[in-house]
């Protein structure tokens, strides 16, 4: 047993439903020319109304009009396939999209990591269900057999060659993936299942049928290796959800946002990378897209956190026009380094690491709202500090004390309101970079006992300017 086939029988419908706010309501996918529109796929609620796939839209409308219509979009299906391939890539390095609406993955080499097949299979099913895709899974010694057995079975796991022959023998001829003419011919010959076909002498088959038939039978039995093109994960994530109605409040965008971030997290986990920056595109009818960039200080990939951060950004936003589609793009996908946690943490259980706290604050207050402080080797008070100093320089040796608070703008002190306690201390610096400064600083005290740090330009006569508080 080496290959697993994950068949997605309702990929198009599932893809639409998982982005739909009310998947329980009757819904139908339609396709076809404008003159003749045909129902392609239906959810159970729509089937319960008596609608059938293949019905024309007018016939369906004659029955009922209580169902939602969604245009069938082949490009969308390809996008889902890519997403699922990226997801499957997390389980196996050999993933193939050779057959439509189906994933083939080599599983045996992953057993050491994900446990024996039953447990592995359960995990695949659990994650697919969480992603919102109905599926059938079959494992077999070769990819072609896995794919064809999935036509008729679900949950089958074939390990040995004998079992495979057995299982294939029971497969109806018309479901074995043979080309249509050959399959019809076999059925007309009275051969119902593949076992009867395989029992025929090989040379008679070769004489009466094209070479492809024998080739296909050989690959089914694994006697003829199949060259599969393996999926290679893209280096960026780009997913778009078309909204079924025009959304005007960001509240209504939270549901698709949760989907998109969950998909992004699944994609990141499969690539074993994190995301540093991503952007949300809100598409409008007439206006250009609204872009909501979400930046993180460190690479992250946890779905709940990505959602929380994106939500913080989205809630700040004034949507300029109704939104028709919603898209998440992530290009910057650096390697993910799991955060280090203390083994003996003194803090309570629910403690949130500083990095996450910082992200949460930045998401609501803005990117520049959280920063560190560093000293700069400069005598000028205005230049003695910097936010987020990359390499804090050692403070200049200074005999004089500095106040704990520095005012952003010096404040004029009225004459007589302060008493000079000490000074002046002359600060004269900056002649080399144009920001020349010559000041005499005094330690002053106000009537109610506040101590301040005030200056006057050297040689100047004006009032003292308060520049800091010795708080």
């Amino acid at each position: 047993m080496r290959w697993a086939c994950i068949l997605l029988p309702q990929l198009a419908l599932d893809g639409v439903l998982r982005a739909h706010p009310d998947p329980e309501a009757p819904l139908a996918l339609v396709s076809g020319t404008p003159q003749r529109r045909v129902l392609r796929a239906l959810n159970p609620a729509a089937k319960a109304l008596g609608l059938r796939p293949g019905q024309s839209l007018s016939a369906a409308h004659a029955l009922t009009r209580d169902f939602a219509l969604v245009e069938h979009d082949p490009a969308q299906i390809e996008r889902w396939e890519q997403l699922l391939a990226a997801w499957a890539y997390g389980f196996s390095s050999q993933v193939s999209l050779r057959y439509p609406r189906c994933l083939l993955l080599e599983v045996e080499s992953s057993f050491a990591l994900f446990g024996p097949w039953p447990r592995f299979e359960a995990r695949l099913r659990r994650e697919l269900a969480a992603l919102g895709f109905r599926h059938r899974i079959v494992a077999a010694p070769n990819p072609v057999a896995a794919r064809m057995l999935a036509n008729a079975c679900d949950g089958l796991a074939v390990t040995s060659q004998e079992e495979l022959r057995d299982a294939l023998g029971r497969l109806p001829v018309d479901r074995a993936g043979l080309d249509r003419d050959a399959a019809t011919a076999f059925v007309r010959m009275g051969l119902r299942n593949l076992g009867q076909v395989l029992a025929l002498p090989r040379d008679t088959l070769a004489r009466r049928f094209p070479a492809e038939v024998l080739r296909h039978l050989d690959s089914l039995l694994g006697e003829r290796p199949l060259a599969l093109e393996c999926y290679r994960p893209p280096d960026e994530f780009d997913l778009r959800i078309e909204l079924n109605f025009e959304v005007e409040s960001h509240q209504a965008l939270l549901f698709p946002l949760r989907r998109l971030t969950a998909d992004l997290a699944a994609f990141l986990a499969s690539r074993d990378s994190g995301v540093q920056r991503f952007s949300l595109h809100l598409e409008h009818r007439d206006l250009a897209d609204t872009l909501v960039p979400v930046g993180l200080l460190s690479a992250e990939r946890e779905a709940a956190m990505l959602f929380e951060l994106a939500r913080g950004r989205l809630e700040q936003l004034q949507v300029p026009a109704p939104v028709r589609a919603f898209r998440l793009q992530a290009r910057d996908l650096p390697a993910f380094v799991p955060e280090r946690r203390e083994l003996f943490d003194e803090r309570p259980q629910q403690s949130l690491p500083w990095e996450q706290l910082r992200e949460r604050l930045r998401a609501r207050l803005g990117d520049a709202a959280v920063h560190g402080l560093a000293a700069r080797a400069d005598h000028r008070p205005e230049r003695a500090w910097q936010l987020d100093g990359a390499s804090p320089s050692p403070p200049l040796p200074s005999g004089a004390t500095r106040p704990g608070w520095l005012l952003r703008e010096p404040l004029v002190l009225r004459d007589g309101s302060v008493r000079i306690l000490a000074g002046p201390e002359r600060i004269e610096s900056g002649w080399w970079d144009g920001a020349d400064l010559r000041r005499d600083y005094y330690l002053v005290q106000t009537r109610c006992g506040q101590r301040g740090w005030a200056f006057r330009a050297v040689g100047g006569e004006g009032p003292l300017l308060l520049h800091g508080w010795f708080a």
């Binding site: 604050l361 500090w385 403070p395 520095l406 101590r451």
Partner: protein, 204 residues
């Protein structure tokens, strides 16, 4: 019927006021760094995992120096200290001279309700050693939220407020007024003990 609670437990939790100064515990986990203040506080230091209010008549009366020893101790043991919406720029050289390791200092810029929200988030997260804030219009409810957040995150919370706020009751575990003339500290309220009548001189 209520559950039987050992009297010692109540006394140790300082939920029952004994009416006379109890024996001081030998050293608190959060000493203020001012011996005179430590001696009069019930726990021998800042109330842990609680909100302390510092009421000042005006900026520049020594209200920062009151906390510097604590901040220096916390940052030295790699605990993060967050200043939420400080009123002015912390002069790095002065803070360094006071022993504060700036690498562990974080500044959050916010205003109004956002500042209260940020302070609450920082307290609740449990990833900070101390959170300092300067609430502009803090009502009883906002202070109670800070107090609860400090308890949840097991973090020291300090709120600087104007002296006029002393007239209103507050859920803070400790309230200290800083006077300028003369330079002194007055403990207005301390949970679990009797507020000392005598002010504590503040060296300048």
């Amino acid at each position: 019927m209520g559950a039987v609670v050992a009297l010692d437990t109540l006394l140790n939790e300082r939920r029952v006021w004994k009416g006379q100064p109890g024996t001081q515990p030998a050293g608190s986990d959060q000493p203020t760094g001012l011996d005179a203040l430590d001696r009069v506080l019930p726990g021998g230091g800042w109330p842990e995992a609680a909100l302390s209010e510092i009421l000042v008549a005006a900026t520049g009366l020594g209200e920062l120096r009151l906390l510097w020893p604590t901040l220096a101790r916390l940052t030295a043991s790699a605990e993060r200290v967050v200043l939420v919406a400080p009123p002015h720029i912390p002069y790095p050289q002065a803070w360094q001279a006071a022993g504060v390791d700036l690498r562990w200092l974080a500044l959050v810029e916010a205003s109004g309700r956002d500042a209260l929200w940020a302070a609450e988030q920082c307290l609740r997260s449990g990833s900070c050693g101390a959170v300092l804030c300067w609430p502009q219009q803090a009502d009883d409810r906002a202070l109670r939220r800070l107090q609860v957040a400090a308890e949840t995150g097991q973090t020291l919370a300090f709120a600087y407020r104007p002296l006029e706020a002393a007239l209103n009751p507050s859920p803070a575990a400790l309230r200290i007024a800083v006077d300028g003339q003369p330079a002194q500290l007055r403990v207005l309220k301390c949970r679990g003990g009797l507020a000392p009548a005598a002010p504590i001189a503040l060296a300048r």
